[in-house]
Each structure stands twice: as C-alpha cells, then as structure tokens.
C-alpha cells in the first residue's frame, strides 16, 4: 500500500521538475559544456572550428595583455575592498547613532547613487574627470591652484575608476552594514559598557564579531562585482582600454577578444580562468570563515 504512493510521489516530483530541468539543460548546462569545449578550439562560427588542444591556455600564460588586465582588476578589487567597504562601514556606524539628526535623509542621499545605472555614472564621471573642462580639475584648480591638465583619464585611470565606483556603491554597501548593525544585541553592548569597555573596544570585541557574517558576504560580493568590472571603464574611456591599457580589466579583455577580434575560443579560455579565480576566492573565504567559526 505504501510503496505505490511513494513511486507516484517520485514521478510527480520529476514531472514538476521537468520544465526547470529542460530549461537548465538547454540554456545553462549545454552552453557551459560548449564553452569548455570552446576553450580548446579556435572558431569562427559553428562551421569553422579547429581543435587547438591547450594552445589557448598556453597563449594566455604568455599574453602580457591578460596579465595587465588581471593586475588592473586586482588593483580595482583592492580599492573596492580596502577603501570602499571601510568607508561604507564608517558611514553605517555614523548613521546608526540615534543622536544623528536626519538619519533617514542621509541614508537616502547616500543610497541614491546605487539606483542610477552604471552607464550614466560612467558618462557623468567621464565628463567630470576631463582635463581643463572637467568639474573636478576646475574645482581643485579654484580651491588649491591644482593643475588644470591633470590627466585623470590618461595616467590615473584606476584611481578615477575607484572614485567613480566609490560614489556609486558606498551607499549600497552601507545599507548592508546598517542592517547588520541594527541586529547587534543591545544588551551585549550595554554589558560591555558596564564592564568599562570604551567605544573602540566595544566596536572591536562586540560589534565586529556580530556583523562578521554580513561583512564577509559584502566582501565576497564586492570581490565578485569588482572582477566583473566592464561598463564603467568601457564607457568612461570611450570604448577603449585607456592609455597603456591602464583601464583594461579581465572582462573587458574578454569582450575585446571575443567580440572585437572574433577569437571566441580564446575568450572562452579567459572566461574559464576568471571563473576558476573567483571560485578559488570564494573557497578561500569560506575556509577562512569556517576556521574562524571553529576557533
């Protein structure tokens, strides 16, 4: 009596899963497998493909452009993690204080740039960072006699990109931290205060451990987002990688290789190396959290 309904349950489950499985197989699994194959080919459409073995991977190892792109991406990621996130946390701490007036207004103002599209931000900052006529150089020139020809988009591309991303995402990350801070148990903070802990010690020993899971999540999100950087430099630098490829990122190089040079096989190789790097990053972070949690 019991076996039959069990079998029926299983059939029903498979039937219900079938649409998802079909879509997953056709639109996710198959392209994924094809992209692995593509990484070992040179191709010009499905009609013209040649198997090149590990040729694409060998070329990547000696491809100075790839390493430049990777280095630039790492620099941008460091800027995001070590400048943007501490700033976001600082703002969150500030706006979490009940004594600060107009907290809701400040939160809205700081979060607002995250609602604007990246394309718009890139176009706006492209104009702001212009030499001579750009708002930033003009402002700094008026205030401090700054060089009007300061080449933000030529020599200082990465600082310019980090600044633009900072403007857009600091408020977004602040909201995550703010949510985490509001969940820090008040009684713990109170107990620490009674025990004589100053604000720095309370932050270090109570607040920071309490918001660590959210912090780790934001760091991971920030790393993944930074490694996928494309639109911001692409538009700010007029569809180029900037002078001496200073604005070339891994995804931008992938795009150039696949869709401007037409080497889809090599582009696929770059994509897989990027994926492996990100998986490695995520695994390393997970291992770190597990170790910390256990200790």
């Amino acid at each position: 009596m019991r076996a039959a309904p069990g079998v029926s349950n299983s059939r029903a489950a498979w039937l219900l899963l079938a649409p998802f499985l079909v879509i997953f197989a056709v639109f996710y699994a198959y392209p994924l497998v094809r992209s692995v194959l593509l990484a070992f080919q040179q191709t010009f459409g499905p009609g013209s493909s040649r198997f090149v073995g590990l040729g694409n991977f060998r070329f990547l190892l000696s491809d100075s452009l790839f390493w430049t792109a990777l280095w630039n991406t790492i620099v941008f990621t460091c800027g995001s993690v070590f400048i943007q996130l501490p700033l976001a946390l600082g703002l969150a701490l500030l706006l979490n204080r009940p004594r600060v007036r107009g907290r809701a207004l400040f939160r809205t103002i700081l979060f607002a740039p995250a609602l604007v599209g990246v394309v718009f931000v890139a176009m706006m900052f492209g104009v702001i960072f212009e030499k001579r006529t750009g708002l930033l150089n003009l402002f700094l020139h008026q205030m401090f006699g700054w060089n009007l020809d300061f080449p933000w988009l030529e020599t200082y591309v990465m600082p310019a990109l980090i600044l633009a991303a900072l403007w857009q995402y600091v408020g977004f990350n602040m909201v995550y931290f703010l949510a985490a801070l509001q969940n820090v148990p008040a009684e713990l903070l109170e107990a620490a205060r009674i025990d004589g802990a100053g604000s720095w010690k309370r932050f270090l020993h109570v607040v920071l451990p309490a918001i660590r899971p959210v912090g780790a999540f934001v760091v991971l999100l920030s790393i993944i987002g930074s490694f996928q950087l494309f639109e911001l430099p692409y538009i700010m630098l007029n569809s180029t990688a900037g002078a001496e490829n200073r604005g070339l990122t891994v995804v931008m190089y992938l795009y150039q290789t696949g869709f401007q040079i037409g080497d889809l096989g090599y582009a696929s190789t770059i994509a897989w190396v990027l994926a492996i790097l990100l998986i490695g990053c995520a695994a390393a972070m997970r291992a770190l959290w597990t170790t910390e949690a256990e200790s």
Binding site: S8, L16, G47, R50, T133
Partner: protein, 479 residues
C-alpha cells in the same frame, strides 16, 4: 484544530493519485501550448530587400532613393536604421550562426574587419571582386582597400574620406600669417609659431598649433599620419608591419611635437563637448578634418562658421603626400541573400548614382568615390562655414592621393599597441630630456619592435589566416 486520525490520513493519501498529476499536467499543457503558439506565430519579415544602415544621415539620404526605387521595382526595399553596435552584433551573430540578416548591410571599417577573421568562405558578405572587375566601375582605387580581405573585395565603397587641416583662419589672418607658404610639417610649425607667443593667465601659450595628444581618442590621427608618411600597420597579406622604419620616424616626430620646451600640440578631444569648447576658445589652431567631419563641425560648433578654413595636410617631405584617410563605410551583400543580381543593382543605385552622390555631398559634406562625378559643379560652390572656400573641390583635388590601407581584424589591437608605444616614447623623452625626433627614433623602433612581436603572435594564432595565403593572381587583379 483537531488532528486527522491515521485512518483519515490514509484515505486522503489513497484519494490523491488522480489529483496528484493535475499540477504537472497543467504546467506541461501550458508549456506545450505556449510553445505551439509561439512557433506558429513567428515575427514575419516584410517581403523585399532589407537594408541596414547605422548613420542617421545616410538613412535620410537613402529614404527618397528607396521610395523612388519601390515605385518601379520589385522586390521592394525596406530600410532600417540601427545603432552601430546593434548593427555590428546582429550582423556578426547572423554571419557566425549562418542565420538570416538584412540582404544589404552598410557597415563602417572596424566593424567590417570583424567579418574577416575566419576563412574566406565563411565571410558573411558576398565576394564582389569579379563583378567589380567585370563592370570596370570608375571608383577611386584606394576606396576598395578597407573592404578587401586576402585579395577579395567584399563591399562597395561609400566614400573616399580625404583628410585636410581645419584651422582658425581668424586667428591666423589676424596675426598676418600666410599659410600658402606651408608645404611640410616643419613649415607648418615654423610659419604658425608666432601664434604661440600670446599667453594665458597661467603664463602658458594661449594657442597651440595642432590638435594632437597621446591618448586613445587621437589613435586614428596616429594611423592617418603613419599612412600619410607611407607607413602602414599591416601589409596586403594582413601581416603586421608595425616595426617599419617609417612608422618609427612618424612616432618619434609626433613625440617631438608633444614634449619639451618647444611643445606645439594640445589635446582637444574629438567628438566631445570639451574638445569642441577648446576648439572654439582657440586653444588649438588646427585640427585634422576628413570630409565627414565638416558636417560635425557645422552642426556641433556652429559658432566656428566663417572663422575656419581648410588646407591640405602638410607633407612629411617636400613633394610628399598632402592628405591621408580617416574612416570609411561600405555596403555589402549578405551571403544569405538569394537575389544577388537585384541587390547588386540596388546597391549601385544607392552608392554609385549621380543624385545619391549629390545628396551625400550637399547633406553630408562627403565626396563620392565615383570619379566621373567629380566634375559636378556642386563641389565648386563656396562654403560660408569654411570662409567661402570651395571645400568640395579642395577635397577632390586630394582624393587621388588618399593612401591604400588594409583592414585587418587585428587593426584595433595594432592601434592600441602603437598608441602604447607612443605613450612609452613620451615617457622616455620626458625622462631622458630628449626632445628631437632624431634622438627618439631608435627608442621608437625598439618599442614598435616589441609591439610588432605581440601583434604578430596574436595573428599567428589564427589558423584560418595561416591556411589562406594571398594568391599572386588575386593581388595583381585587385582594382
């Protein structure tokens, strides 16, 4: 709430099997039905020839021609205006997947090059070489070069795009300078140098003589100057030639203009509001102006009307070439098309007819590549924007000097490498305080050698190019 007893639960369980499949069945029926509806109701293309273009101006010119054509011909023509990136992506997707695209596709130089990466028989455009050769079309020969891959022509040229220098005639004439004495680049800087004596509030020259800088925005300018000097980034086989001595000489000279106490160039970025503002302020006296850019100046900087004039590019040496080339557009027939003869007839009507050439010049300031129309009096008409110069005639006089250029899919990469070599050379000059071209040529050659190796490595990876060397027969017979 009362819990059902085990007996009730069992009864409910036994009654369920019939109903248990209702959910999945409904989902499957809906999925199947929507798939059938979707498949049976495809988006139908209107019948006739489909033409894609990326430029609003071109579209405006083509609409009346297509309407006139449709009155007397079948199949009828449907014009579609797309943004260049959209056109490029749709075209490449169709070519790579061998699906249907527009029958006629108008495309610019860099985008067309992307169709030439694979083997020749996989290029999505119809090979027009034999038709062009058989009909002996009277087209400026250099205009074919960007649409030629491994000796075969895949597009009908839209233009010639000679380049002149647009300069602030008001400033030059107010200083009593006679530009007719200018023949070479050295003459240009020597004759105009008095304009740099005027200083701004920072004590810097108020006017620099030429719009040029070592940024990617000026990349096309570097290429056009290399071509003008007789250099090239690729040979006719599509092999990179970045390390040519001429290229090194050009790079060294450009850096000598850009650095040191005798700097004569400034950055007024092309296609930007800030660049236009700097042109208007006279921060740069002269700028590179291909025929199509006259139209951009006319509409984007109307305040320059009557203040500017054109002059041929100064040559690299006496008796040398006085122009170069910047940009280019072609019309190609998609390989997926069936009525090639009909499309070829319409393509010629669109690109090679006298009234189309007339419209192209009067509305777009672009001169036609059809040489037999160059005697048309419209080209002699004075242009008030350019201080009454017969601008069209000035460009046509230079058209036969336009250099031949190859159009490699690796062109963007090569340009980036040359640009990077230029930047590195600027840094070297500033570091070593060597500002003369002669002192920089050696380093320029070294940097271009490295760039050449990188581009060559990338080209060498292309198994399709390696498998299809250019045949001597094709090379000799290409117009």
């Amino acid at each position: 709430m009362e819990e059902p007893n085990p007996k009730q639960r069992a009864t409910r369980h036994e009654a369920a099997p019939a109903r248990r499949f209702v959910g999945p069945v409904v989902i499957l029926v809906l999925a199947f039905a929507s798939a059938v509806v979707y498949a049976a109701w495809p988006v139908r293309r209107p019948p006739g020839f489909h033409v894609w273009t990326f430029a609003r101006l071109h579209h405006q010119i083509y609409v009346p021609i297509a309407e006139q054509w449709n009155l007397t011909h079948t199949p009828k023509v449907n014009l579609t205006l797309l943004s260049l990136p959209a056109l490029e992506q749709r075209m490449l997707s169709a070519f790579l997947a061998r699906t249907t695209s527009a029958e006629l596709i108008e495309v610019e130089r860099r985008a067309a090059a992307r169709a030439f990466v694979g083997p020749l028989d996989a290029v999505g455009f119809v090979d027009l070489t034999d038709r062009i050769r058989a009909e002996k079309l009277d087209i400026n020969p250099a205009s074919f070069s960007p649409w030629t891959a491994r000796g075969r022509i895949f597009g009908l040229p839209h233009d010639v795009h000679p380049v002149m220098l647009g300069y602030r005639a008001d400033l030059v004439e107010a200083a009593g300078i006679d530009v007719s004495r200018i023949e070479t680049w050295d003459d240009f800087f020597n004759v105009l140098r008095p304009l740099m004596d005027e200083r701004d509030e920072e004590g810097l020259p108020k006017h620099y003589l030429l719009n040029f800088w070592d940024t990617p925005v000026h990349g096309e300018v570097v290429e056009l100057l290399i071509l003008q000097a007789g250099g090239a980034l690729f040979d006719e086989r599509g092999q990179p030639t970045l390390d040519r001595a001429t290229n090194a000489h050009v790079l060294a000279t450009l850096v000598s203009w850009r650095v040191g106490p005798r700097r004569v160039v400034a950055d007024a970025p092309y296609f930007s509001a800030s660049g236009n503002k700097l042109l208007l302020e006279g921060r740069v006296v002269a700028s590179f102006v291909p025929d199509w850019m006259c139209n951009i100046w006319r509409f984007e900087i109307p305040q320059l009307a009557g203040k500017v004039k054109l002059m041929p590019l100064p040559a690299w040496a006496r008796g040398g070439r006085r122009t170069s080339v910047w940009g280019g557009t072609m019309l190609g027939i998609s390989r997926s098309a069936t009525d090639i003869d009909g499309l070829w007839t319409f393509a010629k009507r669109l690109y090679l007819s006298r009234d189309a050439a007339h419209e192209l010049y009067t509305r777009g300031d672009i001169i036609t590549p059809v040489r037999s129309f160059w005697d048309d009096p419209i080209y002699d008409k004075p242009d008030p924007f350019f201080s009454g110069q017969a601008k069209g005639r000035a460009y046509i006089d230079l058209a036969s000097q336009v250099p031949i250029r190859s159009n490699s899919p690796y062109g963007t990469l090569a340009m980036t490498e040359v640009q990077n070599a230029l930047i590195a050379l600027v840094a070297y000059a500033q570091r070593s305080k060597r500002y003369a071209a002669d002192e920089l040529t050696g380093e320029a050659a070294r940097l271009l050698g490295l760039a050449q190796a990188r581009v060559a490595a990338r080209v060498a990876r292309n198994v399709f190019l390696a498998a299809e060397p250019l045949s001597a027969d094709v090379r000799e017979s290409t117009p």
